[in-house]
Subunit: 331 residues, 4 copies
Amino acid sequence: MLKVGLLGAGRIAGVHAPAITSHPESALAAVSDYFPENAEKLAAQYGSVARATDEIIADPEIDAVLIATSTDTHSDLIEAATAAGKAVLCEKPVDLSLERALACQVAVAKTGRSVMIGFNRRFDPSFEALKGALEAGEIGKPELLTLTSFDPAPPPASYIKVSGGLFRDMMIHDFDMANFLMGEAPVRISAVGASLVDPEIGEAGDVDTAAVTLTYADGRIAVIKNSRRAAFGYDQRIELLGSTGMLEAENVLENTVVKSTASGVTTAKPMHFFLERYMPAYRAEWDAFVMAVENGTDFPVTLDDGVAALAMAEAATRSHQTGAPVELSDV
Amino acid sequence: MLKVGLLGAGRIAGVHAPAITSHPESALAAVSDYFPENAEKLAAQYGSVARATDEIIADPEIDAVLIATSTDTHSDLIEAATAAGKAVLCEKPVDLSLERALACQVAVAKTGRSVMIGFNRRFDPSFEALKGALEAGEIGKPELLTLTSFDPAPPPASYIKVSGGLFRDMMIHDFDMANFLMGEAPVRISAVGASLVDPEIGEAGDVDTAAVTLTYADGRIAVIKNSRRAAFGYDQRIELLGSTGMLEAENVLENTVVKSTASGVTTAKPMHFFLERYMPAYRAEWDAFVMAVENGTDFPVTLDDGVAALAMAEAATRSHQTGAPVELSDV
Amino acid sequence: MLKVGLLGAGRIAGVHAPAITSHPESALAAVSDYFPENAEKLAAQYGSVARATDEIIADPEIDAVLIATSTDTHSDLIEAATAAGKAVLCEKPVDLSLERALACQVAVAKTGRSVMIGFNRRFDPSFEALKGALEAGEIGKPELLTLTSFDPAPPPASYIKVSGGLFRDMMIHDFDMANFLMGEAPVRISAVGASLVDPEIGEAGDVDTAAVTLTYADGRIAVIKNSRRAAFGYDQRIELLGSTGMLEAENVLENTVVKSTASGVTTAKPMHFFLERYMPAYRAEWDAFVMAVENGTDFPVTLDDGVAALAMAEAATRSHQTGAPVELSDV
Amino acid sequence: MLKVGLLGAGRIAGVHAPAITSHPESALAAVSDYFPENAEKLAAQYGSVARATDEIIADPEIDAVLIATSTDTHSDLIEAATAAGKAVLCEKPVDLSLERALACQVAVAKTGRSVMIGFNRRFDPSFEALKGALEAGEIGKPELLTLTSFDPAPPPASYIKVSGGLFRDMMIHDFDMANFLMGEAPVRISAVGASLVDPEIGEAGDVDTAAVTLTYADGRIAVIKNSRRAAFGYDQRIELLGSTGMLEAENVLENTVVKSTASGVTTAKPMHFFLERYMPAYRAEWDAFVMAVENGTDFPVTLDDGVAALAMAEAATRSHQTGAPVELSDV
């Protein structure tokens, strides 16, 4: 039974807490938060206790920590927890600063431990099935990838200001997915973006609509499209053209009802909220973490993956700013 | 080059005329109609001439006739044309009277000629592909068939009165399709029906909504559902469960556009009008007729098929009237 | 907090146990089973205790029982539990004997209590959405219903022998769904069936393939199709034609991946196993039970609904045996 | 009745000839070809005569010419035919040389006549319906466009050498479609491409896989993806995200059959061959040409549109060669 300390008691911690408690081989030993009352509330809800973050990390009875705090604390907590010998699952991104993430990578390497990064989409049943079909050779060699990620509505401008920008905050999931599916990092990144959805986003120096092209060493291509607004819901699709076929992952709809009237034939919309859409993925992610810790096997997503995606976000940001392609080796 | 006389100049003749003229191996030699001015108009449109029906049948220069007149003249014209040695394609149904159709069958048999009946749906590209997959063994043995045929809107009550009723007029297509797919006639037919769409249809002694169950000698089952009204268009579907799988033919939509908005995800409706929906089928039907005549091979749909479907319509009508299943051998 | 006794520790009890324990307002107080070791095992897994059925029913500390025992004990346990003042959720069917179920109905009525019957499909998110659209008037008046329920593979013949037959065991779900959607019971039932899938089923006196037609007082029609075998998985669909449109509920697929190769375009199959397919429905069913008990409101599915469906199964069985339609008022 | 001279008797002329002859208001007056025997063969097939190109253009009895010759002759023939007062429909592209196309534009302007360019995809029923929905405001303002065009298989390397390269030969259709849907030309074009499908294409200095990003003056974005190989057929899709929704045009499939077996659920593939896929578009294009000529109204696609698409192809080619974005105003 893995005894787990949950660092952070916000929205995403609220997703992880039931995953931890309902898993037959993990228990929620303690919860911490910057605001202790939040930790107490979440702990009470799941039959656990609130403690200070330091205490949790220092407690030898606790086997693992799940870091679900604000992004600016991730690197510090990863370093502290690995130094204390904990198994660590940390929410993405590793950091908003590539430099800091690289330093964290060095520090963790010294501990000889590894860290799992919460790129939850890798664990989505449909995306996993797509990856499985690809690895089974069902479309030959993957050559042209298209990732589409549209949010239902933009976050408030206040969030945008501390988010690190669309490429680090939102598209980082797609960068990791591209690495997951293409099996390597690209060599060159070219980004365009604009503020079309909300002028306040533009005033905050960010974009809300973007398209990025990744070029691989052998000429293969990936295209990523992001928008902060899709009136119809949370649009999350993959299309991968290979030498002998194509794989697509379509949206998960709210239900399977089809209505046919004089106005047309209508189906349900994609699931609107990311927590609902990716709930099975969060559960599977936790399963994978527990299984790897228990079996002593490698994590399926590592700190290196987190740093790689962050480097791509950095390159995309620069490309958007300069208007020219950026070599990934230059970041 | 097959020289063709087109008997009838109404709506369905207007579908056949361009099929005849655009086919590289058939020519429209003459057109007749009960109202000569209709024949003249259609003939002019397609560079042909209007003549009397008798003359056309008597003319040794004419190789084939396509009978597209009103149903009550079909049997007489089939007999006259086969007696005159013509190749004959006759629109469905053979007759509204099973007795008359059986007599026609006998008369034609004496001429030693065969007649093709225009069950156009057998030639629909999707239904043909379904039949092909079935014959290729892709779902094993067919066991449970469901045919769905909903018209967009009921015909006027005046038409209903001379139509022979829903089972003979509308469901006859489905009876033929069941025979086509199940490979044999059923042994028993059980029908229920009601007038739910238009009270005038009920007052005319007919139904506008019906479900019929066919039972085969070895226990296999087919279900046919008809409605005279589908607000969303012309609904024409097949579902066939077999021992190792299922085949379905879905509706043909007006276009492939998908619209996603806050109200839902909407596609186009099924093609609304039967002539538009089955245009490729009418073309393929004519191709099949010309090819069989030219090659001297058997027609793919024969007078026997037309009589078989009519007998099923007769049995369904009786079952609906009596409320009890009817053995097909009793009609 | 509702203290719940779970009667039965078999497969379906294994679905209910986590629903009870993970619900914020219910707790699993005790588990019983014919084989005490099964009860102990399930109780241990969910932090509960094993007790005898009698004890559980007699314990005033226990508020509710969930009856998930073998069908032949349902009526007795319903009577005992309601007599003891418990809130009761009982798995379908109420009984295999309509007579016994009617007696149970009388006995329960004397206690002044009501019982919820576990027709889980009513709580399926897609079927609920379909019902909601119907009640919102989105297709006008429902006129022609088609229910399709195909199991992936037949149960062993040993099960068939004690099942009560396809109409009572499998189609009973569809009878309830028809009542749910059409808003009333039919007046007449006509059934055909055959043993096409497994000869042993026929030798056991049952059918594995069936089609049933329901006729309503005003002429409306419902068609139910069942097969014990669908090579592609668990096929569960609804189609409801109304005066101004049509509603369909399509299958829930294993994932959203589409693969396009030279062989065709392939999607995932329907979810194969009923527990996986209806897991959200079982959860929602439990929510509805708890909410009704806590609020003192009517159960959404009652003993009357259970008896009504059973009467329809009885009528269908008779119709299949006699080959003639059966008036529901005659059963 | 429009008397039409068809210049060219190759594959695409074989599509136009029946469109001309079956249209009620146009007649095929003459056919010419570089190889006179080809012209004779096509003319005979459609009841017309073969003549020299010069003669056709000089004949005052001929009202219109359809230019379906090899690309290098387009500009010369457009100039000659407009100078002779003919109504002109010319196959795309105007020319492989932007300079020559611009000179042609000037020459035609002097005649005061206008020319229709055969961007047939604008007339595809699904793409037209998408455009109609866009103009009806059904998705608000279009912001992010994705065009996907994959050919089933690459042409022979011999063709590649004279094609002008993927951007001018294949993607030119997408450039025109982007202009059609976004309602203006972009300001900047960024292209990446590679030879992944056929090494001979790379050796010929061309690419077979490419992704191009178009940026518009107000920041809007379009992404175009091309591949010379899709194992599953001819993939032609549009996705357009707008401020209040999204429009997609999906592939046209060979038929509507769905097969469900233990291996999965399979539908037909997209129509494989462009002539079959776009046959209705070619018919509608001819209708539009005849209608504009007869009514004296503007052509729906003009020489300016042809030149605009060519300029984009030129910019994309340069961007791919230099690795940097290209301002459209610089070409």
